[in-house]
Symmetry: C2
Subunit: 173 residues, 2 copies
DNA sequence: TTTGACGGCTAACGACGTTAGCCCTAGGTT
DNA sequence: AACCTAGGGCTAACGTCGTTAGCCGTCAAA
């Protein structure tokens, strides 16, 4: 289950993650990644077929982390859409670059562990009582809020807590 | 007002736009752009300081187009949140690459025509009766729906019309 | 007539992802 | 003990990218 990757490959992914999280996507370079591991860039190809495969592994980590955050929120406050919303926002803002890597491209579904995508969506589906339309519109709202905030699209003085409350209230009724 | 750019610069932006819209962001290369214009890449620097300046001009076009689409929707169905939602979605899906270029990065506000950002937001603000929290949560919902759809994040068989209806209904009440 | 802005050009640089091909080391096999 | 093999490094290099430096032709205004 966790042995999708060799130990060395996991070290590479870990280094890639800190590189991405600390310095953003432009800094996630194969040469910089190799540097951080004390090796040269071409050596990375002994462990991954290309850069995209490394990024896919980061998406797996991001998706897993998001799923765990959602599950924890559900355990804390079962049935609470507000709690889920708070956890979603908190996770995204704690890992903005990882969050964007995960969402701003088509999902590499063929390379994902089976069931991971569903697992991440499950808590929201449960809170929405299986109503897919509601779950999707809530997800869209939460993703929109988070990604617009990350990219600084709201006015600097905007009261985002109020906007979240308003949206969650409207969708949760 | 429209003379922000020299005629030649406007030709360059037009070529950049078709390149982006037809072939996506990876194809928007200074060499490819120059090729399409029958010149060499370094000549572009006689008209723009760097690639980002060209992209900023595309953002201006995208934002202007979005503002026009919102204004047209408002003129068609004054006060209708549903009409605005339909227009927003239609514009984004008609120009997905342009839409992503416009939204998936910090706005280059310093390089934008004065008032453009506000103009694009004005119709929604009016429909929301000046309630900023509502307007922001609606924008987040609409942006989330559009961008998740563009990136193929919803299941292939998802009924997105139903999700839109659900979200607009909840936020518009 | 000369000047200068305008708008092309070639050559080249450094960084990027990537490929080809070499080499050393460790462990297991014969 | 001798050998083989897989793992995991390395250098050199290629093509593409954005970008810079420096040159040259054209044409209107002084």
């Amino acid at each position: 289950m966790a042995d999708r990757l060799s130990p060395r490959a996991r070290e590479i992914v870990a280094a890639a993650r800190t590189l991405l999280e600390e310095s953003g996507p432009a800094a996630l370079t194969l040469r910089a990644l190799a540097d951080r591991l004390g090796i040269k860039a071409p050596s990375l190809y002994k462990h991954f077929p290309d850069k995209e495969a490394v990024e896919t592994e980061l998406v797996v980590q991001a998706l897993t982390g998001a799923a765990e955050a959602m599950e924890a929120a559900e355990a804390r406050e079962p049935g609470s859409l507000t709690g889920l919303a708070r956890a979603y926002r908190a996770y995204a803002l704690a890992h903005p670059h990882l969050y964007c890597l995960m969402t701003e491209r088509p999902l590499p579904r063929a390379s994902l562990p089976a069931g991971l995508e569903d697992r991440a969506a499950a808590p929201l589906m449960r809170v929405c009582g299986g109503e897919q339309d509601l779950a999707r519109s809530f997800w869209a709202f939460a993703h929109g809020m988070v990604v617009l905030e990350i990219h600084g699209r709201f006015p600097a003085d905007a009261d985002l807590d109020a906007a979240w409350t308003r949206g969650v209230g409207a969708l949760g009724a």
